[in-house]
Symmetry: C2
């Protein structure tokens, strides 16, 4: 297996982008990525999108994207694992390069969600749940995560304030991210007084509905070292794991086993322990999700995610910074793009190019991207030397 | 890159399977495959489905399928490239094994299309076209292929009878395939008198709407040789290519450039020429498609596909047999499953297990799976020693 590095990252301003179609989003992020890499060679493309079919009536992005990127004939694959589709795109590009099948592989994540007709974004998102045993009966994702939040509060004493503090921290970071959909700070009181969505989760506990894309360019490490424009960031660990799709079918609804397995696989491949990781971008689709993920990854013990957040353990200047980008909460959550954007942020941090939100001296970063209520998870461990 | 072999194949009876949900289809084909392989180890799963979201309201098959297969925690990826999604699943499983990331990789293709509400199967299928410049304006796939058929008849003198002969040949083969949706013969007259769909294409020029799944198990060739149950069939060539998604944006609407490029890439990797191939399973979504594909692959010169078909060149006992399985036309076309089923048939032929439709002495077979009107294509070259 060849060593693989990331040689280019491409973000764009996320938000309600009614003037840009899904093809425009992909092309803008991809061109930003190729500009950043300083080269224009693409041997293969992996596109992560959760449901371009339902959201925009456009499947077959594997044909559309190379076409509109001016790369006709280029091999392309669209991958999907609900909200983990972006992480899966990076992993698929990794397989292209690691195997030797392709040298320069572009991973793009995209979702166009804000001008959906018919059942709308909530219907589309619910297709990530078990259609026959969850979605059909009316449960939505805020409802599923609300059940997990209530159970966590009941078992561990996690407080409403601790949930709010996840949003406060992530918005504080996101306020310094020019690509974020909501680049402003919020107070604990604002979160706790925002409109109720699914008790105990309020509007500011939820990541937003977003249009956006992100892209990264991968190459063999040996090639990356010759380019010289940026310090190559090596993908030293890749982990992918799944779990029961329906929350009701798991032995313990507060244990995200897919996250635990994917993290362990990625760290084992990297030859690292969680203590060796300097920071992480994680999947805070709801405030409770960040707490559950911290615990499942072993950053803190089960039940300790809430207090750790309120104590500043995961702040940018804390012991284990989480979501320096602002996370899904502040940056936005175009579902298929999120996993790729996490890698963009991690590379920017490892290069020392993260500006006002830079984590000092970070050498090893981890990205954790999750599908549904935890039915799938993709983790990457990245290192700069 | 490691050499990769196919060690198990799993088909099932295709048709209007209203009593089976999409999860049932995946599990049935996968268990048939593991039974055939004689082992129960799966390190990674790649699932090809074009639009489970639109057709069944169920995305996130990457979580659902390992869950219902009794393989929780197994890494999984759903891939999509419209009707080439199945071929892409096999290619993705190939990358898993070739890279060394996984040893035993299961590729499953699936589509559940016959009990769709709302816009129905025609709406779902049209998402493989350019939504903004084709589908939005009302064009359907029968319409696109009808334009190609008219242009081919005009430029090369291809006749209505020659188109019908593609269906006659494929139904003759399909009549011997117990898994086929329509295992019966048809006459040239029946095809030419069937109801008009999009002039000149009639009902029997079109592949049907189908529920079904197929699966193959891949492993390193070195491992496969130790198993001993079947002669290992090696994947000696893999080719993936794309083209403009919209028919109107191609320099020549009768040249399927994605097919030409994918075939060349696969043959180059295999160190073979098309003359070295003993037979092929190709993407006859419409009768004209098989003719265009034969020409794009270089089996015959441009314009000669029609006469070659009527002359028996592509019959099971012809010089270059095409679609011994009955093709999409007779076997059915659950879009995401088709590319995997093509590989199942090719392996069965190379093992000498194809029964009444066996091609004598076949050692090298090729599969060609296409998305949309030719916007993407995946080709595999398989060999038995």
């Amino acid at each position: 297996m060849r060593d693989v590095a990331i040689i280019g990252i491409g973000m764009m301003k996320w938000g309600e982008l009614w003037e840009k179609s899904i093809r425009d989003l992909c092309v803008e992020a991809a061109l930003n990525c190729l500009d950043d890499a300083g080269i224009d060679r693409v041997d293969a493309i992996a596109i992560g999108s959760m449901s371009s079919g339902i959201f925009t009536g456009q499947e077959h992005l594997a044909s559309l994207v190379p076409d509109y990127l001016g790369k006709r004939h280029t091999p392309a694959t669209r991958v999907e694992s609900a909200c983990a589709s972006g992480g899966l795109a990076v992993r698929t590009a990794f397989l292209e390069v690691a195997s030797g099948v392709s040298d320069y592989a572009l991973a793009i994540g995209v979702e166009k969600m804000t001008d959906v007709s018919g059942g709308g974004a909530t219907y589309g998102l619910a297709t990530a749940a078990d259609q026959e045993y969850e979605a059909f009966h009316g449960v939505t994702f805020p409802g599923l995560y609300a059940m997990m939040a209530n159970a966590h509060m009941d078992r561990y004493g996690t407080t409403r304030e601790q949930l709010a503090d996840v949003a406060v921290k992530n918005h504080k970071n996101g306020a310094k991210n020019p690509h974020a959909q909501y680049p402003f700070e919020v107070t604990r009181e604002q979160v706790m007084k925002s409109v109720m969505i699914a008790d105990p989760l309020r509007l500011f506990d939820c990541s937003p509905i977003t249009d956006g894309a992100a892209a990264v360019l991968l190459a063999p490490l040996a090639e990356a070292k010759k380019l010289g424009k940026h310090a190559p960031v090596t993908i030293i660990g890749v982990g992918n794991a799944t779990d029961a799709i329906a929350l009701s079918q798991r032995p313990d609804m507060l244990k995200l086993e897919a996250v635990t397995h994917a993290t362990k696989r990625a760290l084992d491949m990297a030859g690292k322990k969680i203590e060796d990781v300097d920071f992480a971008e994680v999947h805070d689709c709801f405030t409770i999700a960040e707490i559950l993920v911290m615990e499942a990854m072993g950053v803190v013990d089960a039940g300790k995610g809430g207090p750790a957040t309120s104590d500043g353990y995961t702040a940018i200047d804390g012991k284990f910074p989480i979501n320096p980008s602002g996370g899904l909460k502040a940056k936005g959550h175009p579902v298929g793009a999120t996993g790729v954007a996490q890698v963009c942020e991690t590379v920017a941090q490892l290069r020392g190019e993260a500006g006002a939100r830079q984590i000092k001296g970070a050498k090893v970063g981890l990205t954790q991207n999750m599908g549904g209520s935890g039915g799938s998870c993709v983790v990457h461990v990245l290192e700069v030397k």
